[in-house]
Symmetry: C2
Subunit: 380 residues, 2 copies
């Protein structure tokens, strides 16, 4: 069912499209994060359409804990629950189990841990994660992996990656079983594997080769943006991506700044997700093509211009810096919403511009100009 | 400029329209409260259009304290600041001075008090309040009054009301001066006087007569819904409204529940405002024609129906009780927004239905049916 079409390349950068049962995804794409089936900042799925979001990303772990994936299945799946018809990717819960939960115990079967909401004991392994994602009925399910700390010792990382490979086989079998079962929410659910290996080139490469052989629907690179430098991250992309299938999408998990995204697109990444735009928005840090501004600064108190001149987002089309600053300083919830809308629009529009540049064979120039604009800093 | 047209009556109930420089207001009308130039719950002025809001209400005291009315004037006035083209009513700050501020000292000139934001000393009298409202450039300015406690002694109330009458004269003179001054934001700004008198019929009536003689653009009844019973409130409306001009709108300040509104329309009220719909929404208390529901109740966890079947609000058209309950329980900001949108739509739609019923001469029946629906309680 799903098919990735490579429309054009420029160096190692890829311009593609990805067919899914919930519609076509134009790549490179930024997925908008709605952890608990809602975008932070009171942004609704109707708003997501307005700001050009192609793919929404929700969280297996969070939705399992609350409201419960079985309830969501009973209600017809996550698409119906959230009222969002376009593609949804669910992450596997692996990252959250290793970053949020407490007192975890890792075994070959899976991980036992305590819920961060009510402390109750939860067991999650590959089969459990895939069962939950099948209940949610997302367009793309992610394999359940271990995400070792960026600075973990080589021996630990090697053992962890080997287990992640074995878990991936179990994920694939389980999804295959569930996609063929009676009453499955989305029998066309896709599976992406996840490459791990911390900052060890050879482990990353061997792992990439191993999972490439498993004929999955797409491949993610995980365990980055967790403490290593940007240079290390770019280096690993350069080393690893050549060993991932070119006829499948490559997804760089949890990354990143606009510059990170441009660098990663250049190295062949198709899918991105990151909490930066919404998290920064909630603190009044707003993206423009000339760098970030802090809308709480006093200099914006009488500034009647939009956040960014020429921006076509729902916020910039209607509201001034002065108004948004007032809302932010007064603690009005509307401030969050207007800022999140702007930042997500900025990311989605950046991806649209990247796609146009790739279409027209001018990505290198676009990248250079965009980075130089961002680095020029905001001086107004 | 402004003109109230009485289109129809049914008993003492009035169906009218009110022409302003910012457009026609169909009455009876509910004004949507955006205290600090923003509706609580991340609701934007674009949303207000969607939910059928005719008049937005902002607060003189709050906007004077933050961001400052002079900044708003510099930016072209409140309409431009908020990006809202339809009518705005500003209250005078009187009520807030007497309910929010601390250490107030009332003299003939006005009131000295401490800001609730930063404690700084502020003086506000009739001239100051009108100057601020002129800077904001609202469609309708409210007179600066004293709002005595519901249970204040007769002597205190009589003295206070006499002072409020003198203050009203000063408000009128000041607004007249400012509307004719150079550079005024809205030279067509209108002034409503406020009737006071606590629960003393004769003081209310004498005050109504006194202010009716002053040829204002509209008349409000203040100092109700501050602790007296519903029956006392209805009684005062019955006693007072006959002495207010019928060719001007009557505004019942800060009221109230849907039933309060139906009772007050029957007694001749045209304008309403109240924080109930947005405040209740933020606690998950949602209005339906069969009474209020608490969306946090466990019984809604798997309920795929909208808050109210047949409701055409942006929330009910897209989202289920189960989803909204999940958002509320998870502390997602989106919960607040979806709930506030529903409750404000409910109020605006109630007014629209009241107007239709008056147009068609069946208000008495509509009122009876609506109250009996609400009082039937929610049993689903």
């Amino acid at each position: 069912m799903a098919r990735y079409t490579l429309l054009k390349t420029e160096g190692t950068a890829k311009r593609g499209q990805y067919e899914t049962v919930h519609g076509l995804i134009q790549t490179p794409v930024f997925m908008n994060v709605g952890t608990a089936a809602a975008i932070k900042g009171a942004v609704s799925t109707l708003d997501l359409e307005t700001i050009g979001c192609q793919v929404e990303l929700s969280n297996t772990y969070h939705l399992h804990v609350r409201p419960g994936d079985e309830i969501i299945k009973e209600l017809g799946g996550l698409h119906h629950f959230m009222n969002w018809e376009r593609p949804i990717l669910t992450d596997s819960g692996g990252f959250q189990v290793f970053s949020l939960a407490s007192l975890r115990k890792i075994k070959e079967e899976g991980v036992t841990f305590h819920s961060h909401v009510d402390g109750r004991v939860i067991f999650m392994g590959p089969e459990e994660s895939i069962q939950i994602q099948s209940n949610l009925g997302s367009t793309i399910a992610m394999a359940f992996d271990e995400c070792p700390p960026a600075l973990a010792a080589r021996e630990y990382v090697q053992a962890s990656v080997d287990r992640t490979t074995r878990w991936l086989g179990r994920c694939k079998d389980k999804l295959n079983e569930l996609n063929n079962a009676e009453g499955t929410v989305n029998p066309d659910q896709l599976l992406f594997g996840i490459n791990q290996g911390a900052v060890y080139d050879d482990i990353r490469i061997e792992h990439a080769k191993a999972i490439a052989d498993m004929n999955l629907d797409g491949y993610a690179i995980g365990g980055l943006a967790v403490g290593e430098s940007h240079e290390q991250m770019y280096h690993i992309l350069e080393k690893t991506i050549p060993f991932l299938p070119k006829d499948k999408p490559t997804y760089l998990m949890g990354v990143g700044t606009p510059i990170n995204i441009l660098e990663a697109v250049e190295r062949g990444v198709d899918f991105f997700d990151c909490v930066y735009p919404s998290r920064n928005a909630r603190h009044g840090h707003l993206y423009t093509r000339r760098g970030r501004i802090n809308i709480k600064n006093a200099c914006y108190a009488k500034d009647d211009r939009p956040i960014e001149e020429g921006c076509n987002c729902p916020t910039c089309r209607r509201y001034s810096r002065a108004y948004i600053r007032h809302l932010m300083v007064s603690g009005e919830m509307l401030a969050m919403r207007l800022c999140v809308l702007h930042n997500l629009y900025f990311y989605n529009k950046l991806m649209e511009d990247i796609r146009s540049a790739l279409d027209e064979g001018r990505f290198a120039e676009f990248k250079k100009d965009t980075i130089s604009g961002i680095e020029s800093g905001f001086t107004e």
